[in-house]
C-alpha cells in the first residue's frame, strides 16, 4: 500500500480522514491515485444486514460483488449487477456500473435504496432508506450514482435484491450485418419474450452474435427458449458467451447511450462494440462523443461545488 493511502475501517474514521484533509487544504482522491491522500474503502467491507424476507441488504461500500453475492446465494438471492471484473459495491455506484443483466434488472441506480456518504468536509449524511419503496427527502443515493468520487465518499449502501433464478439458459444467434442485427433487435422488442439479457457482440469484420439470457422456472425458461428459437433462430449455447460479452465491455473506452431505434446507424459507425440494443447502450472501443449539453454541465458543476466547495476531491 502506498504511503498516502488511508483505509478507514469505520464510517467515523473515514469522516475524520476527510475532515482533516480538507482542514489542512489537502486534495483527496477516492479509490484512485491523484490526491495528496488516497482513501480506500477496502477495509469498509462488511455486510451489515441481510434481510432475506425483505430481499434487501445493507453493506459497507468496500465489499466486492463476488463476496456479497456468494453470501446472498446461501439464501437463494443475488444483487443483480454483473459488470465485468469484480468491483466493490461502492464502485458499482460511483460509476453506475451494470452488465448484461442491465436489460432486466437495471443499473446500480435502479437497485440502490439508500446510502450513507461522507462529504469532502467530513459531513456524514444518509439518504433513502432500507425499504424497497420510499420517497422521503431527496434521493441522494441516485445523485451519487455515476458521481465518480467527485461529490463524496460512498460509505454504506442499502440494496434491493432479487431471487436467484431456478434455471438459466442462453440462446445465441449469428447476425450477418448491421441490418440483420437491427432486425433481430426489432423482433425481440416487439415480441412477448422476457429475456434477462440481450447483448450484441458486434464485430463488423469477423461476424457478430446476439445473445439472449432467459431466467425463471425450469418449465418457464424451456418454453421461452423454444419460443425464442422459433421466432429468431439460433442455437442454445453454454453461458460462456456472457463472459465474452463482459470481457468486450471491459475493453471498451467508453459508453454511448443511444435511442434504440438508431441501432443500425450506431453499428454502421463502429467496427467493434458491445451493444445492449434493448436499453440503448453501446460500449465502444474508442472514446464516445460527448452527450452532456452545456446547460446540464453547468448545473452539474454547481452541484459539485455545493457538495465540495473547497475542491478537496481530486
Amino acid at each position: 500500500m502506498a504511503l498516502n493511502v488511508v483505509a478507514p475501517t469505520t464510517v467515523a474514521e473515514a469522516a475524520a480522514v476527510l475532515e482533516e484533509a480538507s482542514r489542512r487544504g489537502r486534495r483527496v482522491s477516492i479509490e484512485r491515485q491523484g490526491g495528496d491522500v488516497v482513501v480506500s474503502t477496502q477495509r469498509l467491507d462488511r455486510i451489515l444486514e441481510h434481510e432475506a424476507g425483505d430481499l434487501t441488504a445493507t453493506v459497507e461500500a468496500g465489499i466486492r460483488l463476488s463476496i456479497l453475492n456468494a453470501r446472498l446465494a446461501e439464501a437463494g438471492q443475488m444483487l443483480a449487477l454483473d459488470p465485468p471484473g469484480d468491483p466493490t459495491v461502492g464502485a458499482c455506484l460511483a460509476a453506475n456500473l451494470s452488465g448484461p443483466r442491465r436489460h432486466r434488472y437495471g443499473a446500480a441506480r435502479d437497485l440502490v435504496l439508500g446510502v450513507t456518504v461522507v462529504l469532502a468536509d467530513g459531513t456524514v449524511a444518509s439518504s433513502g432508506g432500507k425499504v424497497v419503496k420510499n420517497v422521503a427527502g431527496y434521493d441522494l443515493s441516485k445523485l451519487f450514482c455515476g458521481s465518480a468520487g467527485t461529490l463524496g465518499l460512498i460509505a454504506r449502501v442499502s440494496l434491493r435484491l432479487h431471487p436467484l433464478p431456478a434455471a438459466e439458459r442462453t440462446l445465441v444467434i449469428p447476425a450477418a450485418d448491421a441490418a440483420g442485427a437491427a432486425s433481430l433487435a426489432r423482433l425481440i422488442h416487439h415480441s412477448t419474450l422476457v429475456p434477462s439479457a440481450v447483448d450484441l457482440l458486434w464485430d463488423a469484420s469477423r461476424g457478430s452474435r446476439l445473445a439472449l439470457l432467459f431466467e425463471g422456472s425450469d418449465t418457464g425458461v424451456a418454453a421461452q427458449l423454444a419460443a425464442a428459437r422459433e421466432q429468431l433462430g439460433g442455437e442454445e449455447q453454454p453461458p460462456a458467451v456472457w463472459e465474452e460479452a463482459r470481457a468486450l465491455q471491459a475493453r471498451a473506452a467508453g459508453r454511448l447511450p443511444f435511442p434504440p431505434r438508431e441501432l443500425e446507424d450506431v453499428l454502421g459507425r463502429y467496427a467493434e462494440a458491445l451493444v445492449r440494443p434493448g436499453i440503448g447502450s453501446a460500449y465502444l472501443m474508442e472514446p464516445p462523443p460527448e452527450t452532456t449539453e452545456p446547460a446540464a454541465a453547468r448545473l452539474l458543476e454547481r452541484v459539485r461545488a455545493a457538495f465540495d466547495p473547497q475542491g478537496v476531491l481530486a
Binding site: 469505520t10 464510517v11 451489515l48 432475506a52 425483505d54 430481499l55 445493507t58 459497507e60 453506475n96 441506480r109 435502479d110 439508500g114 450513507t116 459531513t123 456524514v124 444518509s126 439518504s127 432508506g129 432500507k130 425499504v131 419503496k133 420510499n134 420517497v135 422521503a136 427527502g137 431527496y138 434521493d139 441516485k142 445523485l143 451519487f144 455515476g146 454504506r156 432479487h162 431471487p163 431456478a166 422488442h189 415480441s191 422476457v194 425463471g216 422456472s217 418449465t219 418457464g220 418454453a223 421461452q224 419460443a227 459508453r255 447511450p257 443511444f258 435511442p259 434504440p260 431505434r261 447502450s281 452527450t291 452532456t292 446547460a295 446540464a296 448545473l299 452539474l300 459539485r304 455545493a306
Partner: protein, 478 residues
C-alpha cells in the same frame, strides 16, 4: 401581500391573457391539492402552453423574488402543490400534448400535463404500456408523477417513475432550460435525473418528459384470496416473496375497506376479514407456474375462497374495487386521512397488528388498504371533521402509525411525498446533517429559494429532535 402591477402585466404578457387566472373566485380552485387541510390562495395562476412561456414566467419570478409552485392535476396527497403565500401557481394543465411516440425505441415523449392513463392509452393498441399506475391515473399528470416519483400497485415488479423516465427537459428556478438524459439509458455523470425525480417540485419545472414503454405481457393472471385477517393475508405475502416469486402486484384490503368498496362499486369481493389480490404477468408458462405456487401458498396460509379472474372483464372488476378504495371510504365516514408509511415486508404482520391496537386505543376506525408486496401501507383513519376533539385524535393516531413504521425500520412516505404535510416529521428519519446535505442539492438548483419553498424540509426543528436514519441504526461504526 400582492404582486406589483408591473410584474402582473409582464406575467400576463409572457403567457398571454387567455392563459391567466386572476379572479379571486377562480383562484380559490388552486388553493389546495388532494389534501384539503392546507389552503393558501395564490396571487395569480398561469397556464402556459409552451416551455418558452414557462421559462419567461419563471425568469420574471426570479427577477422579482416571487415564489412559484408548479401544479399538475392537483391530486397530490401531501400538500406539495399548495401555493406559497404571496406567490403564483404555474399550472402545466395546458401543456398536455403527446409529442412523439417512438415505438421502435420503446419511448414516448410527452408534455407534463398529459395524464398517466393517456400515455398507456396511446400505445396499448401497439402492444405497449406505461408501467407506473398510481390509483389516480385517470387524472394525475406525468409531470406530477415526476415530481412525486409516483408508484402504484404495479411498481412491485416494474418499478417507480424514476425507473421509467429516461429524459427530462426542465426549467431551472432561474429560468434556464436544461435537458437531462434522453432516449438512451444511463447517461454519464452523477444521476441528476434520478435525483430530480421525486423532488416534489422544489428543484425546477419539467416541460418535457421521455418515458420508457413496456411491452404488454403475453399473459396476465389475477388471483383473489379471502383470509380471516390482514395478518394472515400479510403472512401469505411474505411467503410469496420468500418463495422467490415476483408478482406484478400484491394488494391487501381489510374488512372495513371491503365494506366501503362493495357499497361503492360492487366488485363482488368475498365476505372475508381481508382480501389479497395478486397479479402475475409475463410469458404464459412462467405466469401459470407462478400462479400455481401462489395459490398453494394462499391455501397453506388458510385462505378461504380463492378466485382466479377468468378474463379481462373480471380482472378489471377486481382492480376497480382496489383503485376506488380511498374514494369509497367517503361512504362510511364523513372524513378520512390517508396515511402513507412503509415497513420492511418481514414486519408487515406485526405492524398491522400494532395499527389495530392503536386504532382501539384512540377509539377510531382504521381501514387498511395497501401495497403489501412492497410494504407500503395506506391506513385510512376515519373521523368526523365537525368534531374538533375527534379530529385532533385522528391526527394523533395517524402520527402514531407513522412512528410505528419508522420504528420498524421503514419510511415516512412510500409514494405520496413529504410536501407540507410531513415536513415537520422529516427529522424522525433524517439527522440534521442528512437534511443539510439534501439542502446543498436544493441550493445548487435553486439558490434563490423561490421554487416551491416550504415543502419537504422542516421550517425549524428543536435541538435534539432528530431520530436515527435506518442505515445509521445498523451501525457499522458510524
Amino acid at each position: 401581500m400582492s404582486l406589483a402591477p408591473e410584474l402582473v402585466r409582464a406575467l400576463v404578457d409572457a403567457v398571454g391573457a387567455e392563459n391567466v387566472v386572476s379572479e379571486p373566485a377562480d383562484l380559490r380552485t388552486y388553493e389546495c391539492d388532494g389534501l384539503t387541510s392546507y389552503r393558501v390562495v395564490p396571487e395569480l395562476v398561469l397556464l402556459p402552453r409552451t416551455a418558452e412561456q414557462v421559462q419567461a414566467a419563471v425568469r420574471l419570478c426570479h427577477e422579482h423574488g416571487v415564489p412559484f409552485v408548479a401544479r399538475g392535476a392537483g391530486t397530490g396527497l401531501s400538500g406539495g402543490a399548495v401555493p406559497c403565500p404571496g406567490g403564483i401557481v404555474i399550472s402545466l394543465a395546458r401543456m398536455n400534448r403527446i409529442l412523439e411516440i417512438d415505438l421502435e425505441s420503446g419511448r414516448i415523449v410527452v408534455e407534463p400535463g398529459v395524464t398517466n392513463l393517456d400515455v398507456s392509452k396511446a400505445v396499448v393498441p401497439h402492444g405497449f404500456y406505461y408501467a407506473p399506475d398510481p390509483s389516480s391515473q385517470q387524472v394525475c399528470t406525468i409531470g406530477g408523477n415526476v415530481a412525486e416519483n409516483s408508484g402504484g400497485a404495479h411498481c412491485l415488479k416494474h418499478g417507480f417513475t424514476v425507473n421509467h423516465v429516461t429524459g427530462l427537459e426542465l426549467v431551472l428556478p432561474d429560468g434556464e432550460l436544461v435537458t437531462l438524459g434522453g432516449k438512451g439509458l444511463d447517461p454519464p455523470g452523477p444521476d441528476l435525473l434520478g435525483a430530480f425525480i421525486g423532488s416534489e417540485g422544489t428543484l425546477g419545472i419539467v416541460t418535457k418528459i421521455t418515458l420508457r414503454l413496456v411491452r404488454s405481457p403475453e399473459a396476465v393472471r389475477v388471483l383473489l384470496a379471502g383470509f380471516d385477517s390482514t395478518e394472515q393475508a400479510g403472512a401469505a405475502v411474505s411467503d410469496v416473496i420468500a418463495a422467490g416469486i415476483l408478482p406484478a402486484a400484491m394488494e391487501i384490503m381489510d374488512r372495513l375497506t371491503l365494506e366501503a368498496v362493495e357499497a361503492a362499486v360492487h366488485a363482488g369481493y368475498p365476505d372475508a376479514g381481508a382480501v389479497l389480490i395478486v397479479e402475475l404477468d409475463g410469458p404464459t408458462g412462467q405466469a401459470d407456474d407462478d400462479l400455481g405456487r401462489v395459490e398453494a401458498i394462499c391455501r397453506e396460509r388458510g385462505a378461504g375462497e380463492i378466485r382466479i379472474a377468468a378474463g379481462e372483464a373480471e380482472r378489471a372488476l377486481t382492480w376497480k374495487g382496489r383503485k376506488a378504495a380511498f374514494a369509497a371510504m367517503g361512504r362510511i365516514s364523513p372524513n378520512y386521512y390517508v396515511q402513507d408509511g412503509v415497513v420492511p415486508r418481514t414486519r408487515l404482520q406485526e405492524v398491522l397488528h400494532r395499527i389495530g391496537e392503536l386504532g382501539r386505543e384512540h377509539g377510531l376506525r382504521v381501514g387498511n388498504v395497501f401495497h403489501a408486496g412492497d410494504g407500503n401501507l395506506h391506513p385510512l383513519v376515519l373521523y368526523d371533521r365537525r368534531d374538533e376533539e375527534e379530529t385532533a385524535r385522528a391526527k394523533e393516531l395517524a402520527e402514531a402509525i407513522l412512528a410505528t413504521c419508522i420504528d420498524a425500520g421503514g419510511a415516512l412516505t412510500g409514494e405520496h411525498g413529504i410536501g407540507l404535510d410531513k415536513r415537520a416529521k422529516l427529522p424522525l428519519m433524517f439527522s440534521q446533517s442528512d437534511i443539510e446535505t439534501m439542502l446543498r442539492l436544493k441550493a445548487a438548483f435553486d439558490p434563490g429559494g423561490l421554487c416551491n419553498p416550504g415543502k419537504i424540509f422542516p421550517a425549524d426543528v428543536p435541538p435534539g429532535a432528530y431520530g436515527l436514519h435506518p442505515l445509521d441504526r445498523l451501525g457499522g461504526g458510524a
